[in-house]
Point group: C2
Chain length 332, copies 2
């Protein structure tokens, strides 16, 4: 169906090299030749087969976009920004859903079989083995939303979750809460662990404050609602730092179901500042994670690694900040 380079060459009465060079930026072709080839190509509706080209250039412009999180609404925005950013640079995302996957090897094999130029792992809850296994396979890899200190050998772009934990704690302290809680995501996620560490550290600077904590089953609405419901059955704290926004929204709903509300009865602060957080029916005070910047930086980094695969690994951390809305009481 589609015309091949050979057909274009024949139709234009030139060598295949000439056609190839016409479609290779920077190659040596005279204007006359270029016009001649372009005319033939146009007439035949030719455009080069990128997969065949990749055999000799060793560049597919395919980037594996790997995630295990297809439930948290923030990831729709993540996919949107990644696909647009990659497309704008002429790269193509091969989307890999790791949700069902237990064995990293098979995903890695698959991505190598497709000769992806690089891999972006977009996940904060990924098992530590995954990202490393990709790197060991010799494929450039960037871990977006990953833990910055987890391994000095792999590129990470994300936030300082420990500092976010501290930030949340300071926010609660500054607002005069005396009994505070940490309602975390799953305790297996490094993001949860780091946020917990920072939060606890900062709270411990204030011995007069009563501190409790628990973890929920997932970063999900249901998990947040269920955990908060459980907490309300005992004697709840005055305010909670929830693992992320979606947990926060679940927790807020649990309050509502118990005829309580934030910030009147219990204060809530989340993390992410996903789009829904600003919806007036939610109006969540939260810590903003600069998703846009993290994604752009991840793309820049993977692009740089395409040119220099041996590039020295780095961590890129972006500062977060509190977005004040309506679920914490005012500063005292």
């Amino acid at each position: 169906m589609a015309a091949t380079l050979k057909e274009v060459a024949k139709h234009a009465g030139v060598s295949t090299s000439a056609v190839s060079r016409t479609f290779t930026p920077g190659a040596s072709v005279s204007d006359k030749m270029r016009r001649r080839v372009e005319k033939a190509a146009r007439e035949l509706g030719y455009s080069p087969n990128l997969l065949a080209r990749s055999l000799t250039t060793r560049r597919t412009k395919l980037i594996g976009l790997v995630s295990n999180n297809f439930h948290n609404p923030i990831f729709l925005q993540v996919f949107d920004l990644f696909t647009r950013g990659l497309q704008a640079r002429g790269l193509r995302p091969l989307l890999v859903n790791l949700s069902d996957e237990t064995d990293p090897e098979s995903s890695i094999r698959m991505l190598r079989q497709y000769s992806v130029d690089g891999v972006i792992v977009a996940s904060s809850t990924l098992l530590p083995g995954f990202a490393k296994a990709f790197r060991d396979a010799g494929v450039p890899v960037v871990h977006s939303f990953g833990r910055y200190s987890s391994s000095p050998e792999i590129h990470v772009v994300g936030i300082d979750n420990v500092e976010c934990g501290r930030m949340a704690a300071r926010e609660l302290v500054n607002r005069g809460y005396k009994k505070v809680g940490f309602l975390g995501g799953p305790d297996t996620a490094t993001s949860t662990q780091d946020r917990f560490t920072g939060f606890k550290e900062e709270i411990n600077l204030h011995p007069e404050i009563d501190f409790k904590y628990s973890f929920s089953a997932a970063y999900s609405f249901d998990a947040g609602r269920d955990e908060m419901t459980r907490l309300l059955e005992r004697s709840p704290q005055e305010a909670y730092f929830c693992g992320d926004d979606i947990l926060s929204i679940g927790a807020l709903t649990a309050l509502k179901l118990a005829n309580l509300s934030a910030p009147q009865d219990i204060g809530i602060i989340g993390l992410n500042d996903m789009e829904m957080a600003r919806w007036e029916n939610i109006d969540l005070t939260t810590i903003r994670q600069p998703v846009n910047e993290i994604i752009n930086s991840s793309i820049e980094l993977i692009t740089a690694m395409l040119d220099d695969p041996e590039r020295y690994p780095e961590s890129r951390l972006f500062p977060c900040r509190v977005i004040e809305r309506g679920t914490l009481r005012p500063l005292v």
Copy 2:
């Protein structure tokens, strides 16, 4: 870095054909040869380059997954199900974000350059030219969530939006609403047009009922909230069929901001039954679109087209049904 077939052949002391056959299901190889090759392959960590293979087999197992909707949360579920379903069949989604794209040609050229085996267009708001342009390029294409009658030449899997409109209307009529409204999505979307047609048709069977309609700027929270806010400034109807769930949630929020609520003051029925609709803080009565079935069917259809590209085009429609929750008053 990665071992090639030639290296495996040399290492095993056999021809390249033998190696190739070992990795080609159904090819003629003796057990002895197979074991020998597999051993060599294992020792060299070889797995075949799918892109090189595709040159002769003319199958890349790449499927273009094209969408222009990266904002409606329902699409996260859509991407999740598509990627899992495709992966389970050994196919790989090349994700294409059409949000910035005005010209279908360039996306089509790109997908052809990557020799995708087929294209799934997942969108209800796609400009009509897009899906057709893909098909004209000779690539198997399935339009998921598309309009079933728009063109008999292209495969469509979706719902009967006209019937959904009727269904929503019947639901409002049966609950005794006398003044009803259609708060649609953008009127350029075929889904909006069809839902409107059905809704109006059914309402017109009841001349005693007062009917008004308007369209919002997008299928989005903000658009729903803004449009409902606007409606509340005049004299609103007693109940509205909103274009989809995300518009409904926006509309419900507008009610709340005006100190009104559903169903006490105004009734709301949505369409989609996205995950959020069942959240207790939303509790939206809506029409369930069987997303899972639509996606599985789309994948089956594209798979079938890979074997028979000339397959006669068909429309697959799945019935919807009302999910009663808390935003319409009870049946009279």
